[in-house]
């Protein structure tokens, strides 16, 4: 067992202990309300995010400042300001704005089974356990005063944690100036003609956008988790993603790269390259990939035939 996985399990055990000590409160379906409030919270702090995806681990530390609907995330490699469909990063390019979006789907398949009042970082907090059927899917902790999401534990289909996130410090007042101005912003325009399924693995395709004429971004959500699928016509150089961990789903081959906050998946099918990025659980990912365009392994002659005649 490597260091990141050990830290992850110890962290999950510590939060569970806090929950037990706080006692059981009345269960409530407050998830929508809690998530809406967290999206508007004002706070700052240091945050650690750990991921363990089938033994592939990642850990990252962030400085986070959130005020209203604007969030500043800073890490060693740079920073980004995210605000109401807009991302302004410190990178030389890539600033982007989404001018339109549809109403997100509700979390129909999730149920808040347990809500407890706890303490987290010495502050009053509310912990909720979210289940998908009989499967525990998430344990979330919200700061009582600010509404900020201060801790989260996400579980895979086997009930094992695959991603945990904790604030290590908490400041209720944000002094950080957070600008959302950018001279060069790519505007994502909605498109209707999308060759991607309306639903995939229980996720609904909420919106789709075109980019640079040949790229389509389809955004999927199930109300709790979300991901985007980027369909890029022609060949691309996937860089490190093209040499990342190979795995199979329904005899189709994919490449996977795990970061602390997301999983990146790369594959090709019918002359199109696909990149999926999101925070969905591993078992959800398998279901999703099965529903998205994919290519099955073929023999040499079959590949030659399809290469020649489609």
């Amino acid at each position: 067992m490597n260091g990141v996985r050990r830290i992850l399990l110890i962290a999950v055990g510590a939060v569970a202990l806090v929950l037990v000590q706080a006692g059981v409160a009345a269960a409530d379906d407050q998830l929508d309300e809690l998530l809406d409030r967290a999206g508007q919270a004002e706070y700052a702090g240091n945050q650690v995010v750990l991921a363990d995806w089938d033994g592939e681990t990642a850990i990252e530390f962030f400085e986070v400042s959130s005020r209203g609907s604007v969030m500043l995330v800073r890490q060693q490699s740079g920073q980004a300001v995210v605000a109401n469909g807009k991302v302004i990063s410190s990178a030389a390019s890539g600033d982007v704005v989404v001018p339109e979006w549809s109403t997100s789907v509700s979390q129909d398949r999730y149920t808040v089974v347990d809500t407890r009042s706890i303490e987290f970082l010495g502050r009053a907090a509310t912990a909720v356990e979210v289940f998908e059927g009989g499967q525990r899917r998430a344990r979330l902790v919200f700061d009582a005063a600010s509404g900020a999401a201060v801790a989260s534990e996400l579980f895979d289909g086997d009930g094992e944690p695959y991603r945990v996130s904790y604030l290590l410090s908490f400041e209720a007042i944000v002094d950080e100036p957070m600008t959302t101005n950018s001279a060069d912003v790519d505007v994502l325009l909605p498109v209707d003609d999308v060759d991607l399924p309306v639903t995939a693995g229980g996720y609904a395709r909420v919106d789709a956008y075109g980019f640079e004429g040949e790229q389509i971004q389809a955004f999927y959500s199930d109300g709790l988790f979300s991901f985007s699928v980027f369909a890029i016509a022609g060949r691309i150089d996937a860089g490190p993603l093209g040499e990342a961990t190979e795995f199979e789903v329904d005899r189709s081959v994919y490449r996977r790269m795990v970061t602390a906050g997301d999983v990146w998946v790369y594959w090709t099918a019918a002359g199109t390259s696909y990149v999926l990025v999101g925070d969905l659980p591993p078992d959800h990912l398998q279901d999703v990939l099965s529903d998205l365009p994919h290519r099955q392994r073929r023999g040499l002659l079959s590949r030659i035939w399809h290469g020649l005649f489609g």
């Binding site: 995210v82 982007v96 979390q107 971004q217 709790l224 890029i232 150089d237 993603l241 990025v277 030659i304």
Partner: protein, 203 residues
């Protein structure tokens, strides 16, 4: 008894009176005991007699071809390749030149010996195939060439298709991360850390 030696090369000189006394004696004794040489001697006598019966035409010396020139024409004369005028010249020379008549006789004997040589039978495996078999071989080779050309063209086409594509564009991780984060920021789902590029963007 003298040894049985065949002396064909001495017979002509014997007939021409060109042998020494000792040689004449030797040839005479040999002819007395060797039937094969006797037969050869008689044939040679008849040939000489026949040559001597050729018509003799007296030509002006200026028109008489010299000996060497006529000697070069004897082979063509035997083959019937000379024109009528050349044939006439050779015949006239032979009438007055015993040496050329002897050469003609020897040359004709040599030709006859060559013609009498047995025909060489080639081994079966060296005998050229029948024309029908050759046609079959040529047909198979043509078909093989067509197939080989077709396969080579197909391979070239496949290789061309697989290699003649435009260069791959590098993926821009920063752009993709930001686009997902932008849309995710207005989603009502779980509030986590915005998607960040695993590596720097390409620009």
């Amino acid at each position: 008894m003298a040894p049985m030696i065949h002396l064909e090369e001495l017979l002509s000189a014997y007939l021409d009176g060109e042998l020494s006394r000792e040689e004449v004696g030797y040839v005479a004794r040999h002819l007395d005991g060797c039937e094969e040489c006797i037969a050869e001697f008689r044939a040679l006598q008849e040939a000489r007699a026949a040559v001597r019966t050729l018509p003799r035409l007296e030509l002006p010396v200026a028109l008489l071809p010299d000996h060497e020139t006529t000697g070069e024409l004897l082979s063509a004369y035997l083959d019937g390749e000379l024109s009528a005028a050349a044939t006439k010249t050779v015949v006239e020379h032979l009438g007055g030149c015993p040496a050329c008549r002897d050469d003609l006789h020897d040359l004709d004997a040599a030709r006859a010996a060559i013609r009498s040589m047995p025909t060489l039978e080639l081994p079966a495996e060296l005998v050229p195939a029948r024309e029908h078999d050759l046609d079959e071989v040529r047909h198979v080779r043509r078909r093989a060439a067509v197939w080989a050309t077709s396969i080579a063209a197909m391979v070239a086409l496949v290789v061309g298709i697989s290699t003649a594509q435009p260069p791959a564009q590098p993926i821009d991780f920063t752009s993709i991360a930001n686009r997902h984060a932008a849309r995710d920021s207005v989603d009502t789902g779980f509030i986590g850390i915005p998607a960040l590029a695993p590596v720097e963007g390409t620009e």
